[in-house]
Symmetry: C2
Subunit: 442 residues, 2 copies
């Protein structure tokens, strides 16, 4: 490009600070992001951008930090309709006495559509531009995500027993294969295989899940080592820790996403090392259900990729991924006994690039680099009570009060503008949520 | 009172939900709080309030939960000017290489005045109506708190070595006694004795601090068992764990507030049991500095009162006490291995009534009951992305995103109205904060 060439682009975002995630630990000041169609074309100091680009639309974000959209790697979106219905209970009581009965009464395609939209609204409003979901009627969740225009890995559930969505393993696998065939290769909707957990999926269906994922080149997400009880019970029943059982069943590969991963011992680490599996860390859910601590600093030292998830709103109880990054960074320090473990910048990478890696979409997502998809979010740090700002990464991760998501774009398309959702009819959604609350409370 | 009697009062607050804290675990729906002058006169169902009271001013809070003002029992308010200046470092590196040098360069009465006002603004905006402070120039902090009209326990610092505020133990004690004489018995400003920590205060001054607190009937607050290093180092140097040393020095009584209290073993519990000491739990600071875990469920089972503190903004990094209650409730479950430990209602009691008890002000503060001071806060739960609301206590504690402090009153005087601070000139404060940022960054 010569000094005289002016390139026309669709969108220019001028920001006080940009955290591109790659290169790691960097904060750019007074830079611009240039976007053409669905991709980033350049990241430049603003005077350089003036020389080389003319934009159809420019946003002046003078008090903001711009970063890649957040990637929430684990949740059960429609459970937002159950948020706060049953708290302060251990996992199995919570599931057996509250969540599973409520699911038995209410789960339907309409519940999934409304609950998923509610969750997407909260996620967009807190900076998430891509989320993983594992719940019933995944074909409905996929349609809702596609309709809104948010990226979603949609894992179809697989269990030994029947639910509202299927008769049993064969039926889940048949419907799941259809989901994969319907969406595979789509830019926004990433279908995946979701065997629920070692204690709900026996060896045969687990092997079929692995085979299906391999055949289709799809990701496989499974809850694993969520609680001490799960591990003890498995050892009593099978003689094997769940990590070892899944290793024998061929689950571990670069396609596998292992969610929770508490109660990790040296033998587990040895079984995981070098397999390329991705760890999905959900610290707030692990704390709230007293599940235990995931040793993420050790897992990362073993060379494993660790991404973040909120889990469902019923066990968290919010879908704010930066809040999860805060908890992850704080907790990792205390669990490892090292205040330098998981810095603010590392926590931001876990919430972005590491998620992209777990999805197999690192070439497209997770950092602000020329050629990547234009999934961007802007947080306003002008709140008086956040001042002074010495380091915007620190404020994003460690100062939860006051930072506000102001803008987001997915594929260059605005999703939040000045805090307002552009593609969800909030009033209509609230009416539907009120109706669900009345039915569920009665 | 006969059916015909109508009593005139200053203020009536109608709320969708009221969490009075006493009785425990209760949520009142569609009730009213009646306030005359600085005290609550009644809490009634709204139709009952209509019959018996006429209010000069009424607030209709239809989407709100009203509760007692939050009591933040530990912090270093003016350190808000250092927020985010140095993160991801262990306690002693953070103190020796960053905080103490910065304090050496910048601490002055002006720094304390501006930093304390900044912290008070953030605390008021997040629902705190009473806070404990321990920092240099406490007489300046006391004046600022008094000027704004927020309650404050002002602990004067005591250390073996000189600082900007004093030459050494004798000087600190002399100035501190003056502070106590100036303010003791004041409704808003509660002067207290603040020996910094076992590793910074030797036996002589510690005993003098205890004697001064006893003579004046003042509270005594001390950092204790913050880190494993503190405990190991003390054992190596003195042969005693810090808890045992302070027990021998006579520190433990119903006047003592012990801050942090990680690394607690059975011998520590035995030394604490029955002494009436108050534990001030600062979970986010303990995590962030990798200090360790305080076993608050065990401490409460031992019969000790556990209140909450944020610690300073430089080691947290916000002063949002409900956020701290969230972290305390989540962490207690995982540390104790019991998902029923520290329920949402218990976490709210820790953030209110338990603080009042630690201050010796339980007769006045910490719950909404007739006869108590009118320190009230209202959180708006109308945010679409908080719906549905089954249990407002759960939303306050577990769903951090979306809840907003809308109103607060201290002694019946409005401090926040519709989210706006009424007694702090925010624009003027921001100018001063910018000047400090420039000086500190340069």
């Amino acid at each position: 490009m010569t000094a005289d060439t002016i390139t026309a682009v669709d969108l220019r975002i001028n920001a006080r600070w940009i955290i591109p995630i790659v290169p790691a630990g960097v904060v750019l000041e007074h830079h611009a992001v240039l976007v053409q169609s669905d991709r980033i074309v350049a990241l430049l100091p603003q005077p350089e951008a003036d020389k080389h680009y003319r934009a159809r639309e420019t946003h002046q974000l003078n008090d903001h930090v711009v970063m890649p959209g957040l990637i929430n790697m684990h949740g059960h979106a429609a459970m937002s309709l159950f948020r706060g219905m049953a708290d302060d209970l251990p996992l199995m009581t919570w599931l057996n006495d509250h969540i599973w009965p409520a699911e038995g009464r209410f789960i339907s395609p309409e519940f999934i559509a409304d609950g998923t939209r509610l969750a997407i609204a909260e996620m967009l409003r807190t900076g998430t531009t891509c989320f993983s979901d594992m719940y019933f009627f995944p074909e409905v969740a996929a349609e809702v995500a596609h309709d809104v225009g948010i990226r979603s890995q949609v894992c179809f559930p697989l269990l030994d027993f029947p639910t509202a969505w299927g008769q049993g393993p064969e039926d889940y696998l048949r419907k799941g294969e259809q989901l994969i065939d319907d969406w595979q290769g789509h830019d926004f909707i990433m279908p995946a295989v979701g065997p629920h957990a070692p204690y709900t999926v026996s060896d045969g269906p687990m092997k079929e899940a692995v085979a299906l994922a391999a055949r289709k080149g799809a990701r496989l997400q499974v809850h694993l080592h969520e609680t001490a009880f799960e591990v003890q019970d498995a050892v009593a029943n099978t003689g094997l820790r769940p990590v070892h059982r899944l290793a024998e069943l061929g689950v571990f590969s670069g396609r596998a996403q292992l969610v929770h991963m508490t109660q990790i011992d040296d033998s587990d680490l040895a079984a995981l090392k070098g397999t390329g599996v991705h760890i999905i860390h959900c610290p707030e859910s692990n704390l709230k259900l007293a599940s235990g601590f995931s040793p993420i600093a050790r897992l990362m030292d073993t060379g494993l990729n660790v991404a973040l998830g909120t889990d469902g709103a019923a066990s968290n109880n919010d879908l704010d991924l930066l809040g999860e990054a805060n908890t992850a960074a704080l907790l990792a320090k205390a669990v490892s006994g090292d205040a330098a473990a998981v810095s603010a910048h590392q926590a931001l990478a876990m919430a972005t690039l590491h998620g992209a890696r777990a999805l197999g979409r690192e070439q497209d997502l997770g950092s602000l680099q020329a050629g990547k998809k234009a999934d961007l979010v802007a947080f306003d740090l002008s709140d008086p009570f956040l001042q002074p700002v010495y380091d915007p990464a620190s404020h994003l991760v460690y100062s939860r009060h006051g930072r506000q998501l102001s803008h987001s774009w997915i594929n260059g398309v605005p999703q939040v503008q000045n805090g307002v959702l552009t593609r969800i009819d909030v009033a209509d959604l609230m009416l539907k949520v009120q109706q669900w609350q009345q039915r569920i409370s009665s």
